[in-house]
Amino acid sequence: MTQEAGGDGEVRKDHGVLYIGMDLGTSRTSIACSNGVRETVASVVGYPKDVVARKLLKKDLLVGQEAFDNRPALDFYRPLAHGVIKGSDGKGDPADAKRNLQAARDLVRTAIGLAKPRKDELIYCVIGAPAQASIHNQRAIIEAAREIVDSVMLCSEPFSVAYGLDRLTDVLVVDIGAGTTDLCRMRGTMPAAEDQLTNTFAGDHIDQTLLELTKAKCPEGQVTPNMVRQWKERWASVRDTLEPIRVQIPVRGAPTEVDITDAMRTACRTLVGPIVDGLQELISTFDPEFQDRLKNNVLIGGGGSQIDGLGDVVEREMRRRLGTGRVTTVEEPIYAGANGALKIAHDMPAEYWERVR
């Protein structure tokens, strides 16, 4: 999008500047904007399967909950997996990779549209993208955004969380998403490759483990990944003592109550070990004089930080393995990344925005 000079039918972009911060996640995409809009949408995209479905839905593209609700009538995509666009690693079916890339573009475009921008305002956007996103991924994200915004920049997700909270020095940020858990060591400069670690023990891993444990407990029950995800969003906890969690599972058509308390705790706790492993690695390779500062400055964000008691259990494990540890969780897990990206967009000098247009 370019700034138009005026004239017949053209819009002059001289009314103001709209900043958009976006957290593009595997499970959900959130935006925070300088016009007060804050929106979050599930990172799923659907296209009507055929003419009948298109006529019924009256749309060519459905995103978020609307796509979820109509998925039997759609070619349904969850374009991001393990923090990157599916198939972008060159493995697998190239046609499928192409479709996922397009779905990711449509997701980015839709998310920006949710900001309800005015036509006569400049739109500057910072997108918190997965740290390990390939150049193909980044290109797709930038190109999708540039169709709507005047200038766009990418930055790593954990960094934007830290920037948003003004925690730039001697902090370890743990961003637990659906596909990956990203760990990032902040030392007052842009995190380098050695400052960042990623593992796949994240939300999707919990879902898979919980699904397997539930099936083991109730072999004849019909359980879907979506059902498990909903249970996790409602009851996820790592605490030693929990209120019993009882769910209804259809067994040969009859709803049957199953207690999944232990399964939930076990599934959620699968994240703790790998997180502390990552923290240990990042701490042990840091200046020994400042290691204690890092240990006492761990910040957990992302959707996974909503797991009840996670901060306490990670802290306990850190004390056991590293002697000390202090963990805090972000106040707004869904918007922490987007808020940070918005702050970066706001602070970025005008000349930088101009030069990346």
Binding site: G16, R99, K116, R118, R139, Y163, M190, R355
Partner: protein
């Protein structure tokens, strides 16, 4: 006065707010919400006034300052209301525009049909050859013929005469010609009525089209009303020099910028992405 204004602002804020259930907030991971009460808004307005005056080196006595603050609060309330009105107007105009576009298409189609019908009627005037005699007309003709013949033959001798037969034939022809003439006149009257109706319809449609055109012009002139939500900022901001971490942040922002420049250069060298046109997955 102050209480009235506070109530009015409170009402405006309520009207401008979205209702979100606690369950939805929990689901979105919100653990705490920021509450902005009236006294805080009041303080913010007072601070904004104070800052603006200080910036301009103006010092006011307390009474005058209180008065300026009051005016600022009232202006704030007016702006909120104005914004609401503008948004309503924009929505109404958008709705009108959609309706108008649909209406324009319908009008143009209807006008085309009426015009071609009129052309057809005018170029093909009804003639005797087009007139078909209806069953009712035939019945009426038969009755009159029968009456005429009865009248003709009432004093005739048995067996008749050639004159009588000729007179009967003439009677039948005359009556048939009368009937045809009557049918033709009726058909011509029908066609005239159709032409009249079509001309009046076309005139009405033309009138509607003209008023629609005027509305389109009005909508075009009201185009500056944007349904989007206005940003807080009129100009590009940038890092504040007063920021506690300004030095470190400036360096970080520069690094983000450089990484993005490098990324664009790499993208420029890279082959096109695997993704295709927007229509591909469909």
């Amino acid at each position: 006065m102050i209480l009235g204004l506070a109530n009015s602002l409170f009402r405006l804020f309520r009207e401008h707010s979205d209702v979100v259930s606690v369950d939805k907030l929990k689901k979105d991971g919100v653990r705490s919400v920021t509450v902005l009460d009236w006294s805080r808004i009041d303080q913010l307005i007072a601070k904004a006034v104070d800052d603006a005056l200080k910036k301009r080196g103006v010092e006011l006595p307390p009474d005058a300052l209180a008065s300026v603050n009051q005016q600022a609060r009232e202006a704030f309330a007016r702006l909120l209301e104005q914004r609401d009105q503008w948004r309503d107007s924009a929505q109404t105009l958008e709705q009108q525009k959609s309706e108008l576009e649909a209406n324009l298409h319908r009008l143009v189609a209807e006008l085309d049909t009426a015009r071609s019908q009129l052309t057809r009627e005018k170029t093909h005037r009804v003639t005797a050859a087009d007139v078909a005699v209806s069953r009712a007309q035939m019945d009426s003709f038969a009755v009159r013929l029968k009456d005429g013949l009865v009248d003709l033959f009432k004093d005739a001798p048995a067996g008749g005469s050639p004159e009588l037969a000729r007179a009967a034939a003439e009677l039948a022809e005359r009556l048939l010609a009368d009937e045809k003439a009557r049918a033709l006149t009726a058909a011509k009257q029908d066609q005239d009525a159709r032409i009249d109706l079509l001309e009046r319809r076309i005139a009405k449609l033309n009138g509607m089209l003209e008023s629609s055109d005027r509305l389109v012009e009005r909508l075009k002139s009201a185009k500056s009303i944007d349904p989007g939500i206005e940003s807080e900022f009129r100009e590009v901001q940038g890092l504040s020099a007063a920021d506690t971490n300004a030095g470190a942040k400036r360096g970080l922002l520069e690094q983000i910028f450089k990484l993005n420049v490098e990324l664009r250069e790499a993208i420029g060298k890279d082959s096109p992405p695997a993704g295709g046109s927007a229509a591909e997955p469909r």
